[in-house]
């Protein structure tokens, strides 16, 4: 269990301390998600020089800047596109993408579905706080129905996206979801995702207290964290009736997994075969 390494895991060893304190608002769940990621990487004993973190635009996108590794802060919605190139060209690197709900599903939605389809070994974290926090709180593809944002002042009437269902349908090798409330569990899920040989998609339910929470009168950061407890239903309890969980919760845990061939390896194999065939022809 990952908690066994808690005494040895000092998150500060993985941070660019000169960049701290980070720019996130007080109580922003993204900080907790970042800890979980670094904990999982610590557990995997990842060499910082062999770790590449690619992130897009938004509050979540800024996280890469605080990680003491090779990091890329790229254009809006495109971290998966950059990561795909990187992972194909440098299979020796461990490539992690940090993206937000807007970055990953709206601006970069197209990249996401094709990354899932290709199943290249990349670990993609989507930090879902249901809002565009950095730009002032506009509605995002995951904003729940009736939630208030700057662009939906009377409440959002669009149905929200289930990102995990989308990723699973598009063929991602590993799909999981967890909230920031239970840090060891979140870190364990990320660890499982990082260990998966193909594309892994992990949705982290994170709280934006300053913008989303404030507009929707959801209370302080600690109250928002406690709310997760009543709204998340572990996957193991999905079919149970008599549970302490309420009716409409999002399932958490590992939600989908498959063993489709990893694209990078398949691509290199095909390329080698073509090269060998060409060389043979040349010799004749």
């Amino acid at each position: 269990m990952i908690v066994d390494s808690a005494p040895a895991f000092d998150v500060r060893e993985y941070l660019r301390k000169e960049m701290m304190p980070h720019f996130l608002c007080p109580g922003c769940g993204h900080g907790i998600a970042l800890r979980a990621l670094l904990w999982a990487l610590h557990e995997l004993k990842v060499d910082k020089d062999k770790l590449a973190v690619v992130s897009g635009i938004g509050c979540a996108g800024r996280l890469s800047a605080y990680i003491d590794a090779s990091t890329f802060h790229v254009t809006h919605g495109r971290p998966l596109a950059y990561a795909t190139g990187l992972a194909l060209a440098r299979p020796d690197l461990r490539v992690v993408v940090i993206s937000g709900d807007g970055d990953c599903l709206a601006i970069g939605g197209n990249h996401l579905i094709h990354a899932c389809r290709r199943n290249l070994k990349i670990t993609c974290l989507m930090l879902n706080n249901e809002v565009y926090g950095m730009t002032g709180g506009q509605v995002s593809p995951t904003t729940s129905e009736m939630r208030v944002t700057t662009t939906t002042p009377l409440g959002n009437s669009e149905p929200h996206f289930d990102a995990c269902a989308l990723a699973a349908a598009a063929g991602a090798g590993f799909v999981g979801r967890e909230g920031t409330r239970h840090v060891p569990k979140l870190a364990e899920l990320m660890l499982a995702g990082l260990e998966h040989p193909g594309f892994s998609f992990i949705e982290v339910l994170s709280d934006c207290t300053e913008i989303f929470g404030r507009k929707n009168e959801m209370g302080s950061s600690s109250e928002m964290i406690l709310r997760q407890k009543s709204e998340l239903r572990p996957e193991a309890y999905r079919d149970t009736v008599d549970t302490p969980f309420r009716a409409n919760e999002l399932p958490t845990g590992v939600l989908a997994k498959n063993a489709r061939p990893e694209y990078g390896a398949a691509y290199r194999k095909a390329a080698a075969a073509i090269k060998a065939a060409a060389a043979k022809k040349g010799r004749k």
Partner: protein
């Protein structure tokens, strides 16, 4: 197989009493206890089904529904030529099977003094309310009796590491069937019928491992009967149930704290507070248990929990 270690046997000294034969008129009373999710009900159903198939009248009553909360679960099975009451009175159980150690202790008074047969898994499931004091190293309010100590109270008693045996077979969940195998040595039904009862109540996929578990439990008791009892308790029961003790120290990076209050509000011991500058501080060092929740939930990485070895303290300061 580690489950066969002789130290687990607490068979009564002297000649081993023969398995109690189904008494002429009085019903046979079997009490099965454990905690939610262990399979108490499955054991009692298998036994009831078997007794019924042999033409006995059977009455079974149970308390369950605590499955998801680790609560206590028990089932009374009575069978004989004629059975009136569905429950077993205190001191009248001929056989007590416990799937969890403390539950076994709890129900011991139900066992017939002198002649009762006690079959208990050494598996310990500590309920949350046994951890009133959450400091590392603090004692837990969990049953302290060792198998050696309870030997005087039972006619024939076995502390069997059924969960370990089942684990070794590859399926921890088969522990209840290990105990069913142990039970089978105390009642005279043919082994083939017992196995048919197992097959009736376990999922098809797990039949092989469950039949192995059944035989392991049966063999274990038969071997234990041949051995002389040993005085010391099983290793598991002697080990303290706590983490390594140490002195908790919180390292706070004040420049990183953003006064969000998460740690203050979510610390289970409520021992943190924001100081006059609205920076976190440890208000009550005595109550902090070092649970690390504050370290994990601080979005700004401002808290780090250390456990200092108590012995080293003097030399450091």
């Amino acid at each position: 197989m580690n489950g066969r270690r002789a130290t687990h046997s607490t068979a009564a000294p002297g000649p081993v009493p023969a398995a109690p034969a189904a008494k002429a008129r009085e019903p046979m009373n079997v009490l099965i206890v454990g905690v939610g999710g262990q399979g108490v009900i499955m054991v009692s159903k298998a036994l009831a089904w078997l007794a019924q198939s042999k033409g006995f009248e059977v009455k079974q009553s149970e308390v369950h529904g605590m499955a998801k909360r680790g609560g206590t679960v028990f089932s009374h099975v009575r069978f004989g030529p004629q059975v009136w009451s569905p429950t077993i009175a205190m001191g009248e159980a001929d056989i007590l099977i416990a799937l969890e150690w403390a539950e076994g202790m709890r129900w011991l008074p139900y066992l017939r003094p002198e002649s009762g047969v006690f079959l208990c898994d050494t598996k310990r499931i500590v309920p949350p309310f046994a951890c009133l004091n959450r400091h590392p190293g603090a004692p837990m309010r969990y049953s302290r009796e060792t198998p050696a100590e309870i030997r005087e109270h039972v006619g024939e008693g076995y502390a069997i590491a059924a969960t370990e045996i089942a684990e070794a077979l590859g399926n921890e969940r088969a522990a209840n069937v290990v105990l069913l195998g142990a039970l089978s040595t105390a009642l005279d039904f043919p082994i083939a019928d017992w196995e048919a009862a197992v097959a009736q109540f376990v999922p098809k996929k797990t039949l092989t491992v469950n039949l192995e578990a059944f035989r392991s439990g049966r063999d274990w008791i038969e071997q234990a009967r041949l051995m002389t009892p040993v005085a010391e308790a099983p290793v598991e029961a002697q080990q303290p149930l706590t983490n390594a003790p140490g002195k908790v120290r919180l390292e706070i990076t004040e420049e990183w704290c953003k006064s969000c209050d998460i740690c203050v509000k979510l610390c289970p011991e409520r021992c943190l507070r924001l100081n006059a500058d609205r920076i976190v501080e440890l208000a009550d060092a005595e109550t902090c248990t070092g649970c690390r929740l504050c370290e994990w939930l601080c979005p700004d990485f401002a808290i780090r929990v250390h456990f200092d070895e108590v012995a080293l303290e003097g030399s450091r300061s």
